[in-house]
Amino acid sequence: MPSSNGVPTEANGIEVSGLVREFKGGVRAVDEIDLQVRPGEIYGFLGPNGAGKSTTVHMLTTLLPPTAGSARVAGHDVVEDGAAVRDAIGAALQEAALDPNLTARDHMRLQGALHGMSKADRTRRGDELIERVGLSDAADRRVGGYSGGMKRRLDLALALLHGPRVLFLDEPTTGLDIQSRTALWDEVAHLSRDEGMTVFLTTQYLEEADQLADHLGIIDHGRIVAEGTPDALKAEVGRPTVEVVPADHAERDRAADLLRPFGELVPGTPQGAAVRLDHDGGERLADIIRTFDQADVKVANLELHEASLNDVFLTKTGRSLEGAQREAAEEGDTGEQPALEGAPA
């Protein structure tokens, strides 16, 4: 069944309309959000701590009833048909929720049995997935001795065990080193691009959202403040900046004069001059190089800075993502659901 806006959600898309979650005391962790995730795409849900990302994931995975609004995942309503949603999804939630006393193979065996897989199937598929996430050598070791990255990889493998069509990853790389993070990105990209799996991924890392997401929703204080492809969002809010450092630092003012026709001058490094371009960066860059060449100003360094998702966040919320994180930490404001979230508002 196609959704109202034509996005087919029957197969493995997600459609959310006016979703709200209030907790006791009237705290609105999620405040009337709308979003669509197309089948097979990676949807990045970017926001600082306490923005409402995890609460949204808990509602979409049926772990938390919404206070208002509706959501369909893989064609099933999360409230009316929770069992069918759970059947269609896999989830690796914020905590890599593993039993430290069990091995990876024990986890696979248990999870497979709970999903109704035969003993032979869960052994075969469990072993395949353990190998796929690079844990074969540690498969019979207790998880309590695993590194953070190993736990995350096992968590991902467990989420894939029953062959889900939609995968929810709640901050899957938080706390991981760059190597583990990159490996997980590769795996997530592979799931979407090669296997057609829809991935809903929350993150507080700009780079992760930029690298992985086909579409991006930026959430702050429970509301989606921007949505689109990363490129479109960046294009919408920010033009690229070019910074030129002359070989002779005394020519800094002259460099600034030469840049002025290309856009608005902005602060750069102490040795250089910078301009926010008023047109597309690629085209203007050649003109800038030509201008400096004709003026016989030797250039030590020239850099093109594309607008970042942080610029998008800054434009939409009035603060940087880093600042928002700091603010949330200072306030001790989680905005997310408590560990036991049974009580609706």
Binding site: G82, A97, R109, A113, G116, M117, R132, D186
Partner: protein, 274 residues
């Protein structure tokens, strides 16, 4: 770290409608492995009652000279109480395990599967059962070595094991009921002193007819712990006493039923999935 992405398994995975008969054994297996792989939980739960038994057997030995005391061996008299103390550890152990599942998010993992709530409850108690069996065997062996006598003989020892397991399950179900409603293991730990007071206000140290303080005797008479102790003790001292055994099993099964009911209600509230 190396992640192989080339050989992706097919997405289609054959699954059947899961039943309690496939889920409960795997949850039980997890519970048993979890128990056995935590010596720090098993050893104190087993040795602490033995230490108390040793202290009481020495310190309260003179109680056997009281007129009407049913045996001249205080070890034989006090041995039954070790089984009940094991039950207290069952409350703490079972409750803490469940609270850890809540706190660490493992419960959410289970909720995302088509898990049968009855399988979850049964599975969680499996570790308690195995630990109870181990404790019962240990207490009987140590008791016999220390000079205790089982009047009901080998058959009586087997019935003691069965009754002690039912008692552990009963106390374990209380742990489940508590663990279902808390999100931190420390909160389960906080009931420990309360439980111990409850245990001591029973006929654990003296037969009820020899308790001289009226209010104490009154409480001990209404305390189901007294009947569980006396059921076990009857096998040690009196031989086969049908009434004492019926009361012991009856109280344990009653607590088990109550604990499971409260735990099931808690589980219903906890499983808020739509």
């Amino acid at each position: 770290m190396e992640v192989a992405t080339a050989a992706a398994p097919p997405l289609a995975v054959r699954r059947e409608r899961p039943s309690i008969w496939t889920q409960a054994p795997e949850l039980a297996r997890r519970s048993i492995m979890r128990t056995l792989r935590q010596p720090a939980a098993v050893i104190p739960a087993t040795t602490f009652p033995l230490m108390l038994l040793a202290i009481n057997s020495v310190g309260l030995k003179s109680a056997t000279s009281l007129p009407g005391f049913p045996t001249n061996s205080y070890v034989t008299f006090a041995l039954a109480f070790a089984f009940i103390q094991a039950g207290v550890f069952a409350v703490i152990g079972t409750g803490q395990n469940l609270a850890e599942d809540n706190q660490g998010g493992f419960f959410n993992r289970l909720q995302l599967t088509p898990i049968n709530p009855a399988a979850l409850v049964a599975g969680q108690l499996a570790g308690t059962l195995v630990l109870g069996l181990f404790q019962a065997a240990t207490y009987i062996s140590v008791g016999l070595i220390a000079g205790a006598h089982i009047e009901a003989g080998f058959g009586g020892a087997l019935v003691m094991v069965v009754l002690s397991i039912v008692i552990c399950l009963a106390f374990g179900s209380i742990g489940l009921a508590i663990g279902m409603r808390v999100d931190a293991p420390e909160k389960v730990q906080s009931v420990f002193p309360l439980l111990f007071v409850f245990l001591f206000l029973s006929s654990m140290s003296l037969p009820r007819n020899l308790i001289q303080t009226d209010w104490f005797r009154e409480i001990a008479t209404y305390n189901p712990v007294s009947y569980m102790v006396e059921g076990l003790r009857s096998l040690l001292i009196a031989g086969w006493d049908g009434e004492a055994l019926a009361l012991g099993f009856g109280c344990a099964l009653g607590i088990l039923a109550l604990g499971l009911t409260v735990a099931s209600l808690g589980l219903k509230e906890r499983m808020v999935r739509t």
